[in-house]
């Protein structure tokens, strides 16, 4: 997918490579020598955090550095593509090559062009070549397996024709169905169906006017209990929950500190608020980063400077400081270093806005998200935000927190005043699935799902690492990015996997830094071991075919295989 509009550069600047001399570690983490020795022994590059007891569990997160040769070849690849792009644009200009894209109306040819031709260079010449890997239409539940509608293109992806065939039973590694609640049978569906028959699909009014149903109140009470906060409020769209509520919380004279990899909705919300925005390096909160130069730009440095120097120009102190972070970062598979962020926010009296879009339900022993994962107190997070789209198999978003916060949002949230409230059957789906996770339905199904997901995650990640792929992120994150690097491999990987009946998500620039194109697997509790093994076998095969096993620190399989140098040599060839 090529989802990022041009303005995203502030969000994804290319990161400086790691601070450690050997360049193994990317984001400001220092291994203690003991940990380093242990890691080296295991042929692994992660850092076991040893941070004065802030962490109650090992925090293993790795971002292996891009091999030099691969980086160079990737740039060459983009160079070739760009050259050909110019050549083809030239041919199109002189009508030697047929133009497929839609054109302006004759009557409006003399208007200022609606979008710059240059803007679309990337779309036209790079994205279009591999467009078939995105927007694949499905025609079944987005569960562990999906049915995909077969489509063909006779004009190099400029348009698609549906053949009418359906590719059945494709293993779904793309949907955010973490807990497997995307189902068309079972208690959730039945409950939703009942509510649908009673209430209808829509609401036709806003919360503040006459669209506040008893179901909404029931949902909000349940969400508050689930999160362990005083109160909560639910909204009709996850994206809008961020973009329409951040402006209610901060405004002019306030400072927003935002992780560089935050989702577009957080970025938009921050911009709409009118507050000053400063970006800190991804996940570098800087409490214990002493050796690195990165800490100069870390969250702590920003906080300190903000308070000491106040607002630029007017020199007034900031009214308040809001830190925006996500629980799991959906492109990196990393987990926020929440214990440090909370320590910092307490020390500097800032407020914390935590977006748990991907982590709610997917992390923590009982699925309560990243706060539970670290064994922290939800009280310490001022604004708990999340979505119902992913783990709950529904749609919409929520904000939880203190009663005062929710009261304020009820009166001042843009969503509550101007946007239609959540659809009742969707509300019912959330209520039923949430009760299931909480064990209130009288079964242990929910708990088993959470455990299954955690197991699947560990297993899948470990096996991929054993195969020698470069896998980003935290070992407990169900979002698993597998590095592809080269632009041609984006298309090749997506197509080869679909050929083998596996649906994966591939992403490239501008959703990732230019050379860090990747494939992304989203694990689900609905994946059985058999499904995972099939997927792994095919990934292994495609990995060999496309020479994707770049890792120089291949994880030794548990069967005591000696460290394998061949992968290293292969990539160098």
């Amino acid at each position: 997918m090529r989802p990022e509009p041009g303005g995203c550069c502030c969000r994804r600047t290319v990161r400086a490579n790691g601070c450690v001399a050997n360049g193994e570690v990317r984001n400001g983490y220092v291994r203690s020598s003991a940990a380093a020795a242990a890691a080296a022994a295991a042929g692994q590059i992660h850092h076991v955090t040893q941070n004065g007891g802030l962490y109650k569990r090992p925090f293993n997160e790795a971002f292996e550095e891009t091999p030099m040769l691969v980086a160079v070849l990737t740039y060459v690849g983009y160079g070739v593509l760009t050259l050909f792009g110019y050549l083809r644009d030239f041919l199109r200009y002189w009508r030697i090559e047929k133009c497929h894209h839609a054109t302006e109306r004759e009557e409006q040819k003399d208007f200022v062009s609606l979008y710059q031709d240059f803007e679309n260079f990337y779309t036209r010449n790079l994205y279009m070549r591999i467009r078939d890997n995105w927007n694949r239409p499905i025609c079944s539940v987005p569960g562990a397996r999906v049915d995909i509608m077969e489509r063909q293109s006779h004009d190099y992806n400029w348009s698609f024709k549906y053949t009418g065939n359906i590719i059945k039973g494709v293993i779904n590694m793309g949907s955010y169905n973490y807990l497997g609640f995307a189902r068309n049978t079972g208690s959730c569906q039945e409950a939703a169906a009942k509510v649908l028959e009673e209430y209808g699909a829509g609401v036709c009014s806003t919360r503040q006017e006459i669209g506040n149903l008893d179901k909404h109140e029931e949902l909000e009470e349940l969400v508050a209990r689930f999160l362990g906060v005083e109160a909560a409020m639910a909204y009709g769209m996850g994206f809008a929950t961020n973009s329409m509520n951040i402006p209610a919380l901060v405004g002019k004279g306030c400072l927003i500190l935002s992780d560089e990899l935050n989702h577009a909705s957080l970025v938009l919300g921050a911009r709409l608020s009118g507050a000053t925005i400063r970006i800190f390096k991804h996940n570098s909160s800087g409490v214990h980063v002493q050796v690195c130069y990165i800490d100069m730009q870390s969250l702590e440095k920003l906080l300190k400077d903000a308070i000491v120097y106040g607002q630029p120009r007017t020199r007034r102190p900031w009214k308040k400081i809001l830190i925006l972070v996500e629980g799991i970062y959906s492109m990196e598979g990393s987990i926020v270093r929440l214990p440090e962020v909370i320590a910092l926010k307490k020390k500097y009296k800032a407020y914390l806005y935590l977006d748990e879009a991907h982590s709610i339900g997917a992390l923590g022993p009982t699925g309560r998200g990243v706060v539970e994962y670290f064994g922290l107190d939800p009280e310490d997070v001022d604004v708990m935000m999340g979505t119902f789209t992913k783990s709950f198999g529904a749609s919409g978003g929520y904000i939880g927190g203190k009663k005062e916060l929710i009261d304020y949002l009820r009166t001042h949230s843009h969503s509550a005043v101007y946007a239609t409230s959540l659809s009742p059957p969707v509300v019912e789906q959330i209520i039923t699935s949430m009760k299931c996770i909480m064990g209130q339905d009288g079964t242990s199904l929910g708990k088993e799902c959470v455990q299954q997901l955690a197991e699947n995650t560990r297993y899948f990640r470990r096996r991929l690492k054993e195969m020698g792929f470069i896998i980003y992120g935290n070992e407990d994150s169900p979002v698993v990015p597998l590095m592809l690097y080269m632009p041609a491999k984006i298309g090749a990987f997506g197509r080869e996997m679909l050929k083998r009946n596996i649906g994966v998500v591939v992403v490239g620039f501008p959703a990732t830094p230019i050379i860090e194109s990747r494939a992304r697997f989203c694990l689900s509790a609905a994946h059985t071991k058999e499904i995972l093994d099939t997927a792994l076998k095919e990934i292994d095969e495609v990995g060999d075919l496309l020479q994707l096993k770049y890792s120089r620190h291949r994880l030794v399989p548990l069967l005591d295989r000696p460290f394998d140098e061949t992968t290293y040599e292969e990539t160098e060839d």
Binding site: M1, P3, E4, A102, E104, V112, N135, R136, P137, I138, V141, P142, G174, S175, Y176, N177, A182, N184, Q189, L196, Y199, G200, A201, G202, C204, S205, Q208, E209, I210, G211, N212, L213, D214, M237, F239, A240, L249, S265, L268, R271, W318, K319, K320, K349, Y351, V383, T389, A394, E404, D407, Y408, R410, T411, H414, V417, Y418, A419, V426, Q429, G503
Partner: protein
Amino acid sequence: MATATEQWVLVEMVQALYEAPAYHLILEGILILWIIRLLFSKTYKLQERSDLTVKEKEELIEEWQPEPLVPPVPKDHPALNYNIVSGPPSHKTVVNGKECINFASFNFLGLLDNPRVKAAALASLKKYGVGTCGPRGFYGTFDVHLDLEDRLAKFMKTEEAIIYSYGFATIASAIPAYSKRGDIVFVDRAACFAIQKGLQASRSDIKLFKHNDMADLERLLKEQEIEDQKNPRKARVTRRFIVVEGLYMNTGTICPLPELVKLKYKYKARIFLEESLSFGVLGEHGRGVTEHYGINIDDIDLISANMENALASIGGFCCGRSFVIDHQRLSGQGYCFSASLPPLLAAAAIEALNIMEENPVLKEKCGQIHKALQGISGLKVVGESLSPAFHLQLEESTGSREQDVRLLQEIVDQCMNRSIALTQARYLEKEEKCLPPPSIRVVVTVEQTEEELERAASTIKEVAQAVLL
């Protein structure tokens, strides 16, 4: 001549130097050194370096007290305690435990509890479940979405349509997909909040014209034309847009589209039309303002509407020519980054469209209640007689908005007690660009019988008299 004199002076000087006594030279030497010293020495003490010590910084940090995350909300805030609707918010609805006839929901065509719509949604629920678990790009595109887009495009007679999963996000994402920093947007002062947010996100230059005042718009366009002539190079890359609503949510008035189209071609500005209120209501088939005025839909660059009013589902759509609409598939933030619309809601919208195509009638009723509500002492009707949603405002403000709101709320409450569900139009008072005066918004639907309309009108009349006099 000049050089000769100069040379002579120089020679004379050198001579004078030879002839001068030693003490003189020494004195002058000392003087020169003195001057040099004066030039290079600092005559004043530099202020002490302003760097703060670590301790001072710590003190500052200790000292800083942020404002609370949110200010406390007064317990009697008019918007704090919501009405609770038990059961479906359809024609007859239970508000705060009392059964009322609904004159507040935008359920214009009564499709909310239509059995066919429900059946279609149910069938979809049984096939696809509820959520889509992904954005459109990543396995979140369902065949139902494609069908709905197709159906909408066909219905509106445009080349392409694109659906969003949230009505508010539709126009708010569509505007910044095209209009960027430096572009100019001419927008009606009465434009709804979603448009305002879209404009803010676009960071374009915004020019407000008086509500429905084409002369004022033309004045602004002319001003811009003159500006453009001064700087033709910039003008060549500055896009111009006119953003208007079909029926205005905030005023219930209709936009003068024929004049707007004339202005569009005269000044080469593109028109974006928001039709959330007029879609499904205006025009013979419910295609909105374009059909109402008989204007070729291709003359409007982009039409957006939500599916949350007439269609009684959730979400919104934009339609127009492929050249325009397709751009949003990569640039519409609310499209790319959000999970797609739950298939059951898309299926409901498709069925609602089918029903809408079969029997569209609403207009007479709007006119009827409009007439019936005229002449209430103390209240005036604001809005077109063909608009299904219009406003009742106080004829004379009490002078304070708070007091006005309280009076109107009293009317709403008393009507509610007499089984007529009404609501005030809610606004975020500090956020609105041009805050409309407080009002009660009355919504007419096809389900209300003549008798009910009459009853509502007489109830409002009686209550208003009791409250206002």
